[in-house]
């Protein structure tokens, strides 16, 4: 990557970092992931005056302290990556809270510029902020800005450029006096390593001199700059911090100010069961020892450290901020409706309805267009290419695979436009607030609701939607459970099976049998999802109970550019990362279903076709040829690897009420559940088929097992539907979970548990039914 100086944007969630990032760097952002953590990393090349820099949008955080890898990103970025300048983005309307993070950053002595954002709202509220007092006390430049309207950006850029100027000067001075080793210039630092893998640095034994070299001034401000702030601790706490800082300086090779920052971080972050990585054992040991000693002495070390900062901040606020006249906030007036005990629930339902509509209906025209386009290109290729395996590879493998990827784009795009709107406006936090009561009972976070709901449409956008959940564990539980939600691709299967096994006018009490079946399947899927979430929480994804310590930010008007930017990022990473997996799997499945071909079968049908052409003509001939093609496809499928696999697993699936033809269908359905039906069409030798196709229904109704009994009874049909509710029959879901969880471990676990669950439950249903003699025909 680049050796350009790094400029980091840090700030509380909703402080306006992304807005500022987009305004400063435009559309040139690159997105990636932090190594090992599924948190997005956005960077862009940015010119600050004469300096070419790299701008990085860090995830929002209230503090540098951390308990989990995703929270550790901020501290690693600041204390390990050696940024040239840190821009702290503050929400000017909630300085009392947001200055805490600013203070933490300034304490490190890193060159800091504070972007005092939301100045439009600050002014409107009549509040008055003394920028000079803030700047003097924080030891940083403070620049008022309105990110959403690009106000103050020139001054901000100039302030950053000034810090970069200072560093360049210092660097030049350092080259003049080469003996002055520790003042190595930041641009000499191999910043490419941290940019690629900010958390990969082995901390116990720094292999290079980056840690010392990175910070020329090591926190000592250049002449003319105020000193960094230093909250005053009591003597005992001060001794604790110094003891830990000595160890930090030693094991992390950190200069004094950074060592102190590490010490404060360690004392407020490390805990018996934190999940932090790359923490030197010696640092952990001393922090633990100091905490235990403090506990034993009846002291509250956590409180002492935090209270010292807030004491400094309270003083700063009272000196620099004059509150405006008290007046009702717009947010309160909106919330009086949106989280009202009755109206709030109605509003909630309405918003969720819109999410639902967008997934089911609004995305439909675009999906239809994509499907038509794919079918047209397949037809075109079939027309211009000579028949053969290569043509089939292109049409049924590659083009079909591209189609399998593209069909998800409309739903993903619409869902993310909506979710980003909800998130940026502040309503998503209210969604969590309103529904948390329900979600917590199964160990899920309130923010899991929208992804779960989206799961009724399709698991792929739903898994992507879990990004709004901050904690990695909460995200994992949600994405592992939500493929059990009955997605719209399962619906055709319910329709086909119900229509096959029950006469159309069958009733259960006053209800039609179709309604009862659908209701039961959807209930089963919701129960299974919530049950799985509860079990996963206690087993594979064990972790701290999710908390609802959640800020309810003021409502704000989202900026269109941000919505489009976020949506485009989502779509792009889906296409690139999950898309390649889906394409590859489509080709593999096509090969399994197509090869090997039997030459005997081919020759036999060739002969029959010749005979037919000789004997028949006109419509009768066409019909006969189509029937022959369909029959041949069925026989060839039987010969293919998938056909053989279907037969191979027959002993395993027979107790579930399926035979090998169902087995092949289930294998084919892996490409997408609805493919189950078209695969069955081929197996039964009737060519193209969908869930409304009556030839397929008739074939299924008449089909028998080897022992002559009926294949499709009400019992085996219900068993088949139960299987489809619970089984992980979708390679696209697997691909997207791989992308979003960052490893194959999670999709493997998901596939494993869902398949096992589907097998066991279907087995119980079918065998119980058999034993009781239910629904046998």
């Amino acid at each position: 990557m680049s050796d350009k100086p790094l400029v980091y944007l840090v700030g509380n969630p909703n402080a306006g970092k992304t807005t500022l990032f987009n305004r400063l760097a435009g559309v040139r952002a690159r997105t990636g992931n932090y190594p090992g953590v599924t948190v997005e990393r956005r960077t862009a090349a940015w010119r600050a005056g004469p300096h070419a820099a790299e701008l990085v949008d860090l995830p929002g955080t209230y503090s540098l302290s951390a308990r989990s890898p995703e929270e550790q990103i901020a501290v690693d970025a600041l204390l390990r990556d050696a940024p040239a300048v840190v821009v702290v983005v503050l929400d000017g309307t909630s300085l009392e809270r947001s200055l805490y993070l600013a203070l933490q950053v300034c304490e490190t002595g890193l060159p800091t510029v504070v972007a005092l954002n939301m100045m439009d709202e600050v002014r409107a509220s009549g509040m008055d902020v003394d920028v000079d007092v803030l700047a003097a006390r924080l030891g940083a430049d403070v620049v008022p800005v309105v990110a959403s309207r690009s106000e103050g950006l020139d001054a901000l850029t100039a302030a950053v450029a000034a810090r970069l100027d200072e560093q360049r000067l210092e660097e030049e001075r350092a080259t003049d006096t080469p003996t002055d080793a520790p003042t190595d210039a930041p641009t000499d630092v191999p910043t490419d390593a941290p940019t690629d893998a900010p958390t990969d640095t082995p901390t116990d034994a720094p292999t290079d001199d980056r840690d010392q070299a990175a910070l020329p001034s090591a926190g000592e401000p250049p002449a003319g700059r105020p000193a960094p702030p230093a909250p005053v601790l009591g003597a005992e706490a001060e001794a604790d911090v110094e003891a830990v800082a000595r160890v930090a300086a030693d094991v992390l090779k950190a200069p004094p100010r950074l060592a102190r920052a590490w010490a404060l971080w360690a004392l407020l972050s490390l805990d018996r069961d934190d999940e932090l990585h790359d923490v030197p054992a010696a640092l952990r040991a001393i922090a633990q020892a100091r905490h235990e000693a403090a506990d034993a002495a009846g002291r509250d070390l956590d409180l002492e450290l935090v209270a010292a900062r807030y004491a400094l901040l309270d003083q700063l606020i009272s000196d620099a901020v004059r509150p405006g006249p008290p007046k009702p906030r717009l947010t309160d007036r909106i919330d009086a409706v949106l989280v009202h005990p009755v109206a709030g629930l109605v509003a909630f339902a309405a918003v969720m309805f819109v999410v639902f509509e967008s997934l089911f209906r609004w995305s439909e025209p675009a999906i239809g267009l994509i499907e038509e386009g794919i079918a047209a290109s397949q037809g075109w290729l079939r027309g211009v290419m000579t028949e053969g395996p290569f043509r089939d590879l292109l049409t049924d493998g590659v083009v079909a695979g591209v189609g399998n990827v593209l069909v998800f784009v409309p739903q993903i795009a619409l869902l993310f436009l909506l979710i980003s709107f909800l998130e940026d406006s502040g309503y998503l936090a209210r969604v969590a607030f309103v529904i948390d009561r329900v979600m917590k009972s199964v160990g899920l976070h309130g923010k899991a609701f929208v992804p779960l709901l989206s799961g009724f449409a399709c698991a792929v956008p739903a898994v992507l939607a879990t990004r709004t959940i901050a904690s990695r564990k909460d995200r994992l539980v949600t994405m592992m459970a939500l493929p059990l939600m009955s997605c719209s691709a399962r619906l055709p299967i319910y329709v086909l099976v119900t229509a096959t096994i029950f006469p159309a006018d069958t009733r259960v009490g006053v209800f039609s049998v179709g309604a009862v079946v659908l209701f039961s399947m959807y209930s089963l899927s919701v129960a299974a999802t919530l049950g799985a979430a509860a079990v996963l929480r206690r087993t594979a994804v064990r972790g701290p109970r999710p908390t609802m310590v959640l800020e309810l930010p003021p409502y704000r008007l989202p900026v269109l550019r941000n919505l489009v930017g976020t949506t485009w990022d989502r779509v792009k990473t889906f296409l690139v990362d999950a898309g390649t997996i889906i394409l590859a799997l489509t080709i593999v499945l096509w090969a399994l279903l197509s090869f090997p071909k039997s030459a005997d079968v081919g020759a036999r049908y060739e002969a029959e076709r010749a005979a037919a052409t000789a004997a028949l003509e006109g419509e009768a001939l066409d019909e006969r040829l189509a029937a022959l093609d369909a029959a041949e496809a069925g026989e060839q499928l039987e010969h293919s690897i998938a056909g053989r696999l279907g037969k191979g697993i027959e002993p395993a699936i027979e107790p579930l009420g399926m035979d090998w033809r169902m087995g092949v269908g289930v294998l084919g359905a892996f490409a997408a559940r609805e493919v189950f039906i078209s695969t069955l069409g081929v197996v039964f030798g009737i060519g193209e088929a969908d869930e409304e196709s009556s030839p397929l229904r008739e074939q299924l109704r008449d089909a028998t097992r080897r022992d002559g009994s009926k294949l499709m009874t009400p019992l085996s049909g219900v068993a088949l539907m139960v299987f489809f509710v619970l089984a992980c029959q979708c390679m696209s879901t697997i691909a997207v979970v791989r992308r979003e969880s960052g490893s194959w471990k999670w999709p493997a676990l998901m596939f494993g548990y869902m398949t096992a669950l589907a097998y066991v439950v279907t087995l119980i249903v079918y065998q119980t039914g058999l034993a009781l003699g239910w629904g046998l025909g």
Partner: protein, 89 residues
């Protein structure tokens, strides 16, 4: 001594002590919920839990089980409408 979960809507209170698990406690402290901090109970979620607090010029939601661990001293109950803005909102 009362805890936060017991206070009626619109009540104002001053935090005395926080006694929950260390990770949550640290988070609350860093968010400015310190002994001595004044806060107001703004509303309950439509389903009764969590609750919304107003402190230090911003709004924070907490579950009942977390609110129970925060010991407070009730301040003169200004039982006027909860939407009334606290200072610096």
């Amino acid at each position: 001594m009362a805890h936060l979960g017991e206070l009626p809507l619109g009540a104002r209170a001053r935090v005395r002590a926080i006694a929950c698990e260390r990770p949550v406690r640290r988070r609350l402290l860093e968010l400015g919920v310190l002994p001595g901090t004044e806060l107001e109970i703004v509303r309950r979620a439509p389903l009764g839990d969590p609750i919304e607090l107003s402190l230090r010029g911003y709004r924070l939601s907490l579950r009942a089980e977390e609110a129970r661990t925060i010991e407070v001293e009730a301040l003169s109950a200004t039982a006027n409408e909860p939407a009334a803005a606290p200072a610096r909102a």
